[in-house]
Symmetry: C2
Subunit: 106 residues, 2 copies
């Protein structure tokens, strides 16, 4: 299970997959949507997701060429677990922040 | 959502939480159960999980003292999403491995 979780168990991959839930986005749109990610980290994350077959990259012939990133069928199947984890994190962030303060104060 | 996912979106945290699903374990038991984790990384991961309030650490008065790690109620609530992600990874590992070969060969 170890090497497998390494596939998806990094926050950037999960966040990028989550942001593609409603359809394809361009690089710049993803960069704005995933707050805090650097251009370099987004490039690396998209390449990893494309290599794993979770995201597809399409180049559209226009001037300038438009490049879209979209979930593949496999990427779509990760949406459920990825969003569940994200929801859990949002639901419990206050409790976790309080736990940290308590731990650091002792 | 970013800082929050950082809480849980690392594979070691998810793997340790998953291993505690059936009850408390000692350090050595966890070390054997989470394959590939170093003692140092397990120590750091447990400290982070304890700080976040996901895992509790109990010292039992015996000779030598026994130290157990267990999920808190909060940690227990993460089990569902963590195991769902792990199951997804296991279910799709062959497909992902094939995608990587295809990507690297092109």
């Amino acid at each position: 299970m170890l090497g497998i979780l390494a596939l998806v168990g990094d926050k950037w991959s999960l966040l990028v997959v989550g942001q593609l839930r409603d359809g394809p986005l361009r690089f710049g749109e993803l960069h704005r949507a995933v707050r805090g990610i650097s251009q370099r980290m987004l490039t690396l994350t998209l390449r990893k997701l494309e290599r794993d077959g979770l995201v597809s990259r399409s180049v559209h012939a226009s001037v300038p060429p438009r490049v879209d990133y979209a979930l593949t069928e496999l990427g779509d199947s990760l949406l459920g677990p990825a969003l569940a984890l994200g929801e859990w994190a949002i639901d419990h962030r206050t409790e976790i922040a309080a736990n940290r303060l308590r731990y650091d104060a002792r």
